[in-house]
């Protein structure tokens, strides 16, 4: 309730500045706010210098347990386009959008369309229930997302359409390269299973390249794993003489380390990619780079059953 009232105040202040900007004829840049880092990178890749793209999720935060603070709502109140992931990844989002009450702000739900995309690829459709929200970890779907961002951006700023199209095509080519690189590297891999001491973020990625993800947590890292599950995974690791247990960036490596110690394995990181650390932000590590690092680590730890 408090957040709502506060956001009204901020919104009105924002409006005042906005109208001032119009009066003085400042050419406002396209302002795009995204909830998570991959969407920020996609949007930035499309708009280039003609837009300001920022991500709500601060460096180092874990998206499933993060909630926006008042300053984030201020930022959102000035956006022309808000790109969010959807599929329940941002449970706070609906309330905040309603309280912002800006019907003219464009929004994009990234996960909307995943079900159709998935079904269209001959996978068993998840006909009911929640869908896996980690849609950015399907690199073909990411190309569709870039197209959808492009459409919206062109609609908002038709003058820049040519540039947007060129840049979008270039980035999509990089995504296609990444997809191809994964496919090639993993085709020859002898093992197909990996043990992930994080949450089940890599479902789409695993399905796409014929891998099996064995994760400790479910679709969100907030529900604690059960002892039996730990025991089961430990047994599996022991039986298959596993050498690498993966842990998740932004989730404590403790449990991965416990299993690794139990079976004499090493631990390596996997990046779900929804966010970066402050250091990675400083070093301008890109989403594509994170995914390439994932591939390299994965290749060290695939298990042949």
């Amino acid at each position: 309730m408090k957040i709502k009232r506060f956001s009204y105040l901020i919104k009105s202040i924002g409006m005042v500045f906005l109208s001032l900007a119009c009066v003085f004829g400042v050419q406002a840049k396209l302002r795009i706010v995204t909830s998570i880092f991959p969407l920020e990178e996609f949007a930035a890749a499309v708009v280039g210098e003609r837009g300001d793209v920022s991500c709500l999720l601060p460096p180092g935060a874990e998206i499933h347990s993060w909630k926006p603070r008042p300053s984030d709502i201020v930022r959102l109140s000035g956006a022309d386009l808000f790109i969010y992931n959807g599929a329940g990844l941002e449970p706070w989002m609906e309330d905040i959008l309603r309280s912002l009450n800006r019907p003219r702000m464009k929004t994009l739900d990234a996960a909307a369309g995943m079900r159709e995309f998935h079904a269209g690829h001959g996978h068993e459709g998840h006909g009911h229930g929640d869908i896996d929200p980690h849609v950015w970890l399907d690199f073909e779907y990411d190309q569709i997302l870039v197209d959808r961002i492009l459409d919206l951006v062109v609609e908002l700023d038709p003058q820049g359409a040519d540039g947007y199209r060129l840049r979008a095509a270039a980035y999509k080519a990089e995504l296609a390269d990444l997809d191809e690189f994964y496919r090639e590297s993993l085709k020859s891999a002898r093992g197909k299973t990996f043990i992930f001491g994080g949450h089940a973020a890599f479902g789409y990625l695993a399905e796409r390249y014929g891998l099996r993800q064995m994760s400790l947590y479910g679709l969100s890292p907030n529900a604690r794993p059960k002892p039996k599950q730990m025991a089961g995974i430990t047994d599996f690791a022991r039986k298959n003489n596993v050498k690498v247990i993966f842990f998740e960036q932004f989730v404590s490596p403790e449990l991965a380390r416990v299993i690794a110690d139990e079976v004499g394995a090493e631990i390596r990181v996997l990046y779900p990619g929804a966010n970066r650390t402050a250091a990675q932000v400083r070093e301008r590590v890109s989403f594509l780079q994170l995914m390439r690092m994932n591939l390299e680590n994965l290749c060290h730890g695939l298990i042949r059953e």
Binding site: W66, K67, K228, E254, V258
Partner: protein, 280 residues
């Protein structure tokens, strides 16, 4: 269920190091909690464990923020809070648990603010709020066991002075016992124990591990040693069986431990009320 022998029940505790560590640390912490609990409950300070655990939460958050050993920082913060609480009790005229209530809420608030500084309510924090017996590292086991031993040895060393002070504070003072120092000592020991217990049952439930076994012991014991014995028995059985149940029924260990402890308490309470045995 017919062929589920005792061996299959305890088998996982033989096979998995993480369960062994949970059991070992849990049992030692349970003994320390139970012994301290008897003194605290009789002193009318049942809530101090709760208060110190919440204060320790600030330490955990700080540890996670600085990326340093959170348990160690929580320990330091809780001990400082313990000393402050006993100081406040002396001088402020605040009655009973008012000081504790203030500390616990301020500590928790501080924890929340620090956690948000750490950019986002970190998932790891939940492990401390609700306990994470699966992730007790060998270092933490070593720390828990040795600190629990230190707590127990200190109590053993000061045993009769602590009992005297708890039973009859004025006479204890009149026989030259420095009760103010012992107050502080007891509070510090509680802080240490509660921080250790956090990892097993979590911040929210750790005070139950201090209070319930002690309350159970007080139901039936005819003397102090027996009260301690019953409390220790209740606590160790709750932790042992609780971990077992947690594994086989796939329920959270912290909840299982506390509910079992309550069950044992309830049984003794009913037995006492029914005067099945007057006192042991």
């Amino acid at each position: 269920m017919g062929n589920m022998s005792f061996l299959t029940l305890i088998d996982p505790f033989i096979r998995y190091g993480f369960l062994q560590r949970a059991l070992l640390a849990g049992l030692f912490i349970a003994v320390a909690c139970a012994v301290l609990g008897v003194f605290l409950v009789l002193r009318g300070e049942s809530m101090i464990g709760h208060g110190l655990a919440h204060t320790a939460f600030a330490g955990v958050a700080l540890g996670l923020l600085l990326d340093m050993f959170p348990l160690g920082i929580a320990l330091a913060v809780a001990i400082m809070a313990a000393l402050l609480i006993s100081r406040i009790k002396e001088g402020s005229g605040l009655s009973g648990d008012t000081g504790i209530a203030i500390f616990s809420s301020v500590g928790f608030a501080l924890g929340i603010v620090i956690a948000s500084l750490a950019r986002g309510f970190n998932v790891d924090l939940f492990a401390y709020l609700f306990g994470e017996i699966l992730a007790i590292s060998p270092l933490e086991v070593w720390l828990s066991v040795s600190l629990a031993l230190v707590v127990l040895m200190t109590i053993f060393l000061f045993y009769s002075r602590l009992v005297y002070m708890t039973f009859d504070r004025e006479s204890a003072r009149a026989s030259g016992i420095r009760v103010d120092r012992l107050d502080a000592l007891l509070t510090v020991l509680t802080a240490v124990t509660v921080v250790l217990g956090m990892k097993v049952v979590g911040i929210i439930l750790v005070s139950a591990l201090v209070v319930l076994p002690a309350a159970a012991g007080l139901q039936v014991a005819s003397n102090f040693k027996k009260a301690l014995m019953f409390a220790v028995l209740n606590a160790t059985m709750s932790v042992g069986l609780g971990l077992l149940l947690s594994y086989h029924l796939d329920i959270p260990a912290s909840g299982a431990v506390v509910l079992l402890s309550f069950l044992f308490f309830g049984i003794l309470f009913v037995l006492r009320k029914a005067r099945i045995f007057r006192s042991f």
